[in-house]
Amino acid sequence: MPWLSYQKALNRALADELARDPAVFVLGEDVRVAVSNVTAGLFKRFGPDRVLDAPLSEQAFTSFATGAALTGRRPVVEFQIPSLLYLVFEQIANQAHKFSLMTGGQARVPVTYLVPGSGSRTGWAGQHSDHPYALFAHAGVKTVVPATPEDAYGLLTTAIRDDDPVVVFAPAAALGVRVDIDYDELGPVPLGVGRVHREGGDVTVVAIGHLVHDALAVAEELSGDVSVEVFDPRTAYPFDWDGLAASVARTGRLVVFDDSNRMCGIAAEVIATAAERLDLLAPPARVTRPDGAVVPFALGLDHAVQPDRGRLTTAIQKVLKY
């Protein structure tokens, strides 16, 4: 079977949707020559009316996409840096997201915002290393963080077909992941449906994005002593609460592994909801970035603020002590 990389999966999803639906177009910076690689070959195949290079005017081209969506298109807007989403928070959270309700259901804004390379990129320092998916989940914008190539394909496809704005975070640390897969098996993945990557009986680790792979490695390492279930929500918002409940019903214990800042991150919400709704045998734990993290440049400092396997191992062991 052929290998499919995460990056190629995004590229394939874009190409397939561009081919399937004439309403889809791609807009962003340097997308014609595909600096991020995600749009490779698309300009040549689909031409300048479907693959648009925009000037460095993120706020204008993000709302341009809103205007195009209001009049029938399905734009995909690519952002070169995750923190550019701060620049366009108004255009996404306060404009695109609010049109449906504010117009009493007259309008829909089916725009996909794609960040190919979110989170730490190793050595890119403070203004290139954020992973602000919790911010959009908090605002109520549909937010997906695929961990694997097949989910990257499936969730990007669904995001494009969805009638609401959706932000797709492709973690930099997951872009190199490859799977051996029959391309015919690729298909849309519904929003809000998680995935159990590994079944276990002692503790549920909720892992998001690239951290799924670290969680699986830790689960394997600990497998002699502990049976770890790895639950990947795949969408940060809407969150698969039923999937979480089912997993915790099997294990009774919960650790959340989340590349958000600690304060009001996804882990905070998962644990709050678990405390309200679920029966836990032990207090839950979370492994996140620190409060208000600014990722420092030097490699050792950068790593020091990332949630990592060591801290996850410690958290699992602590939760199992009860």
Binding site: P55, F61, T66, G67, A68, Q91, R108, D164
Partner: protein
């Protein structure tokens, strides 16, 4: 109502409708039927009337916090617009948008927008789609003098000029952004912003509907023919408060002489003198009865059911978790 908005009678009908709509709306603010207040458009009617008279039904507009005039001039039903302002289920937006977000997509009204300068880029996207589909519709972005210092609007002008989009940027220069004068806020000129992007830009008397119509026609013709965007700066004057909140707050930033002389040139009077007395009286009576029934319709309409407060949050019908309890 026969739609011939670009005739003298038509222009008068529109400015008169907007004037009476705003006056009745202010009364409804005072009576508590409109909560939150409004930004009255009184004094600026010639801009909406003149620009929209140059448009076809399938053209599009986006509007501002001071948007009732634009929406009415583009053909929105006064009764449903007033029902929106009074937060009724029968409103244009089913009571979900209110004064600052009135929209009617079937009429090409892609929404009033409460964030100053935010609508220009949205307008550009809509204009691009029209072009892509081979149509010759144009899209108008109305904004105030305050918006010309917003980066996103200037970015939108750049995009529109770069891609030769059929956009009309219509700046209503009423001299103030809330209390801040143009002199205290705008370096250079407003038309200079257009010129910087190679966008043809003119300044016109925004108190005369005919003058505005003439400038809008020229810009619309150019846009339809593929000539790209234009900027029209309409010099106008806001007769009433920035917001009805000001009626009670009593902030002072315009002296009485200025307000008196600003109100001397009244677009409704200017256009009214172009009609015979008989014509004018007929239109006035027609508008009074339109507004009487609009007020009655709004106040007789049901309030939306609070159980549906988050209806339409997602176009897909996805439901959000409630704020409390399981």
């Amino acid at each position: 109502m026969v739609r011939a908005p670009d005739t003298d009678v038509g222009l008068y009908r529109t400015v008169r409708l907007i004037r009476r709509f705003e006056e009745r709306a202010v009364e409804l603010v005072r009576s508590g039927d409109i909560v939150g207040g409004i930004h009255p458009y009184t004094g600026q009617e010639a801009v909406a009337a003149g620009v929209c008279a140059a448009l076809r039904d399938d053209d599009m507009i986006t509007s501002t916090h001071r948007g009732h005039g634009h929406v009415l001039a583009k053909g929105a039903d006064p009764a449903r617009t007033l029902a929106e302002l009074t937060g009724r289920a029968t409103g244009l937006n089913r009571g979900r948008g209110g004064s600052m977000h009135a929209a009617d997509f079937r009429l090409g009204i892609l929404g009033a927008n409460a964030i100053v300068g935010a609508n220009g880029a949205i307008t550009a996207g809509a204009a691009w789609v029209a072009r892509q589909e081979g149509g010759d519709q144009v899209a108008v972005s109305f904004f105030g003098d305050g918006a010309v210092n917003q980066g996103v609007l200037l970015e939108a002008m750049n995009l529109a000029a770069l891609w030769r989009l059929p956009v009309l940027f219509v700046c209503e220069n009423n001299g103030y952004a809330t209390t801040l004068t143009v002199a205290d806020a705008v370096a250079g000129t407003i038309t200079g912003r257009g010129a910087a992007f190679g966008i043809p830009a003119v300044t016109v008397d925004g108190m005369d509907p005919r003058t505005v119509l003439g400038a809008a026609r020229e810009a619309v013709d150019r846009a339809r023919a593929g000539g790209g965007p234009s900027l029209i700066e309409c010099l106008t004057y806001r007769f009433d408060a920035h917001h009805t909140w000001e009626h009670r707050a009593g902030v002072r930033y315009r002296d009485d002489d200025e307000v008196r002389s600003g109100r001397e040139r009244d677009p409704v009077v200017i256009q009214g003198t172009r009609l015979t007395d008989g014509e004018r009286e007929r239109v006035d009576a027609e508008i009074e009865s339109t507004m009487d029934s609009a007020v009655a319709f709004a106040l007789d309409s049901p309030h939306p059911d609070p159980a549906g407060a988050l209806d339409y949050l997602y176009a897909t019908g996805m439901r959000a978790r409630p704020g409390g309890g399981w």
